[in-house]
Symmetry: C2
């Protein structure tokens, strides 16, 4: 449970930045080299590599160096963990609203009977 929570901390922290979200979105369409990923942002390479490091330590992406080219790919597992957290919240609200609905129906029934 602690690992799950730490993993969510890291994933949400990684996603709290537009550059990192754009990298995730791009990798969702296929693996890419650091150079290809960095191009649209006009950031210095050291700054961009810091973003890549945050994404790697959150477990959202992995990278591999072949020759002189480092290629990044998406690791969907941790992104799914975060998505599941949202699904759990949604389920909780839905069941709450269902309970409220049931209560209103019961109250309405009692009102009609009186």
């Amino acid at each position: 449970m602690k690992n799950y929570s730490t993993s969510l901390d890291n994933v949400f922290h990684a996603l709290a930045d537009p550059t990192r979200r754009a990298v995730i979105a791009k990798l969702g369409r296929g693996s890419a080299s650091i150079k290809e990923l960095a191009e649209p942002f006009g950031l210095g390479l050291p700054t961009f590599l810091k973003h890549i490091k945050v994404l790697e330590s959150s477990g959202l992406i992995a990278s591999e160096k072949v020759g002189r080219v480092r290629t990044c790919k998406l690791k969907r597992g941790n992104l799914s963990t975060a998505q599941k957290w949202f699904d759990e919240q949604r389920k909780a609200w839905e069941s709450r609203y269902k309970n409220l609905d049931n209560l209103l129906t019961t109250l309405k029934g009692e009102e009609d009977e009186s």
Copy 2:
């Protein structure tokens, strides 16, 4: 678009902490006073109020003071915005995998014909 991005930054930053996620989960089951929310965490009130402030400025919760009691409630809009971001990523992967599937089917067809 900029507002959407800033709002996602704030929401993901707010969710990158276990105490704040627990507050969101609790408010999903109904509104609650600051006192009720703070109880399970054993944090000092000033520290807990900092978490509440982060949640409020991210637009995930709202609070209202009536008499001496401040009550918090969930604002589902911004949480849905973040959830939509995940849905968009999932759609992108799915369409990518569908394209790969189509490609494999085409290649297989060509192989069978040759």
